[in-house]
């Protein structure tokens, strides 16, 4: 299934939304309005957008510590998301989650996660529930190349294959050329192979590696895997090569010269009519501004909130 013009614009819009939102997050963090620094998704937008476009509201995702793209693409409300990042009462989780633990069950966004690889076994549980409920829902489990090494991730690949779960494993490999942990001049590789998707064979599931900054490729590969899961044929391991880009604070959405070759937005822009591009940018900027205003105006949680929700209250 290839991308028509309308679909392309729809995907472009989601990517612009993520990038615009994250640029606002950068600025607000610098201004101290967001109380802690955390990992962003800039440069990876095509993956979340291209995967999520195949998902239904009842489908679930499990995410990582770079969750904003996944959450936005799954349809999380921007106002509540921004409020959560500022630790406000009106956030999805009353300011308790912050960026690492955001949950929005209303759209199946079942968790950013602060532990590398931590969400992957849980996401198999969402897929198990989907299988038991027989509503043909599926789950998508996002993790990085570092997370792919975790025992819990490897165990879940096996479990999902044994139980033929309706799940798609999406590994975003942000260090695709060097097998080394990003941002660290370390001496030993962290992967013994150059493609995470090679692991799939050991668990008897399809696996393939794709260019994550090419939206058409993401769209096609994830569509195939998600349809397969929905049809009850079991899990797939997809790997998307990505580059985490620096982004900028000046409100520009395009990358600098050096990073341009990997910027999914810069690349896709060539296919979008200028008028459409301008309209999308303006509309998404307005939505993000609304979210920022909402979050800034929202109250802090009261101190009582610190003690609430340790256990589920019995009604």
């Amino acid at each position: 299934m290839s991308l028509n013009e309308a679909r392309t614009a729809e995907l472009y819009r989601v990517m612009i939304r993520i990038r615009t939102f994250e640029n606002a997050v950068r600025r607000l963090t610098k201004e101290g309005k967001i109380p802690a620094r955390f990992g962003l998704y800039t440069g990876q937008e095509a993956v979340a957008a291209g995967v999520s476009v195949h998902l239904r509201k009842g489908d679930q995702i499990g995410s990582t510590h770079r969750a904003l793209g996944h959450l936005i693409a799954k349809g999380c409300d921007l106002d509540k998301l921004m409020a959560e990042l500022m630790g406000k009462e009106t956030g999805f989780n009353h300011g308790k989650a912050g960026p690492y633990h955001t949950f929005d069950p209303s759209v199946g966004a079942l968790g950013a996660n602060g532990i590398v690889g931590g969400s992957v076994p849980m996401t198999a549980g969402y897929a198990l529930a989907d299988q038991l409920k027989t509503k043909r829902n599926v789950a998508v489990s996002y993790f990085g190349e570092g997370g792919s090494n975790q025992g819990g991730v490897q165990e879940t690949l096996n479990l999902a294959a044994c139980w033929k779960l309706p799940i798609v494993f999406v590994c975003e490999n942000s260090s695709p050329e060097v097998q080394r942990m990003l941002g660290h001049e370390i001496d030993y590789p962290q992967l013994s192979i150059d493609k995470v998707s090679l692991r799939a064979k050991n668990y008897a599931m399809p696996g393939s590696t794709h260019i994550g900054w090419d939206i058409a490729e993401v769209y096609k590969a994830s569509g195939k895997a998600i349809r397969r899961a929905r049809a009850g044929k079991g899990p797939t391991l997809l790997e998307f090569k990505v580059h985490q880009l620096e982004g900028n604070l000046e409100g520009h959405l395009e990358s600098n010269e050096k990073e341009r070759q990997w910027d999914p937005i810069d690349i896709l822009k060539q296919k979008i009519p200028r008028k459409v591009d301008e309209l999308i940018r303006a509309e998404e900027a307005a939505k993000v501004q609304k979210a920022v205003d909402f979050a800034l105006k929202s109250p802090e949680p009261t101190l009582d909130e610190a003690y609430a929700c340790v256990y589920k209250e019995v009604d």
Binding site: P35, A36, G87, K88, G95, K96, A97, G98, P99, Y100, H101, N113, G114, I115, V116, G117, G118, G146, G147, N149, Q150, G151, G152, M181, H184, E185, I186, D187, Y188, Q190, L191, E300, P301, L303, E305, A306, Y307, V310
Partner: protein, 323 residues
């Protein structure tokens, strides 16, 4: 003492350098340990080479377990865990294999490994990046728990830990890293199991660990002239210097325990139980625990602060104990 001041992080770095120099069986690994951004292990790879200083993938079970194995096989691994919360991924290797191999083997093997662990709240990092958890490790038979509160102890305790033949969890509060203090240039050991009398006093004994020693000292300073506060830092939770604590409680008759770890079933309860068992008749008021309630730490900085022990809460507790 030389009068030379360095940070907690630099003190840890010096301990590594000294022990790697002193004993070729000392090896270092963990996530990004060869990175220039990891202060405690900075420069080790350049000095001692990539055989002895290794970066591990994000695979806590594998590299902590490999440390246990290398220790049993005759090396002295110093393994770094980026944050204590991440160690929960590797519970079997830590709580079963690391802790129990010596006993289970009837002494046929020993595990002279030091698992260095960064800990601590106060950075608005949320529930899986903020914990202390020393109580969890101290609970397990076989583990020794070392928890320095200043640069001098950091260096001396780490050297003593590396030389000791048993499994150590060596806990480093992140917010202590930039703290400066006097540290001798030469190598020295601070013995495991000996408490530090940080401040002498006669009215109230405050037992505190790690970053909370600093908070307790601020509280004691503020109460100067009103309440004479004795501050005791056990430095190691296992082995615990029971005598120092009991003697202090016998002297003052009043006890406050300050702990950043969770309140329930933890260090603070252990110290109060010790006072009840061995100094009950000396107690003139009920002991008070200032600890983090059993609540996961929230992201919002105000909510986080609400839950953590602080100078203000310690002052209130000391006044109540002294009343």
């Amino acid at each position: 003492m030389s009068g030379r001041e360095i940070t907690f992080g630099q003190a840890l770095n010096e301990a590594h350098l000294a022990e790697m120099e002193h004993d070729p069986k000392v090896i270092v690994f963990g996530e990004n340990v060869s990175s220039q951004w990891r202060e405690a292990t900075k420069g080790l790879k350049e000095k001692f080479g990539r055989e002895r200083v290794r970066d591990a993938p994000i695979t806590e079970t594998a590299f902590i377990g490999a440390g246990v194995g290398a220790a049993i096989a005759g090396y002295r691994p110093v393994v770094e865990l980026m944050l204590v919360d991440f160690g929960l991924v590797a519970m079997d290797q830590i709580l079963n294999q690391f802790a129990k191999s010596t006993y289970m083997s009837g002494g046929a093997v020993s595990v002279p490994m030091t698992l260095r662990v960064l800990t601590g709240a106060g950075t608005s990092s949320g529930a899986t990046h903020s914990e202390s958890l020393h109580g969890l490790f101290a609970h397990m038979p076989g583990l020794q728990v070392v928890i320095p509160s200043n640069p001098y102890d950091a260096k001396g305790l780490l050297i003593a830990s590396i030389r000791d033949p048993n499994p150590k969890i060596f806990m480093e509060h992140r917010l202590l890293y930039p703290v400066k203090g006097q540290v001798p240039k030469e190598s020295y050991e601070v013995p495991l199991g000996v408490a530090n009398l940080v401040r002498e006093g006669k009215d109230v004994t405050v037992v505190a660990t790690s970053l909370m020693v600093q908070e307790a000292m601020k509280a004691a300073d503020e109460l100067k002239g009103k309440v004479s506060v004795e501050v005791l830092d056990p430095r190691t939770l296992v082995p615990l210097d029971e005598e120092a604590i009991v003697n202090s409680v016998k002297k003052t008759g009043r006890l406050v325990v300050v702990d950043e770890d969770y309140l329930h079933y933890g260090f603070s309860g252990e110290i109060v139980a010790l006072a009840a068992e061995k100094a009950l008749k000396s107690l003139e008021s009920p002991p008070i625990r200032v600890a983090t309630p059993n609540i996961p730490l929230p992201f919002n900085p105000k909510l986080e602060k609400e839950l953590l022990p602080s100078k203000e809460k310690i002052i209130t507790a000391i006044k109540q104990a002294a009343a």
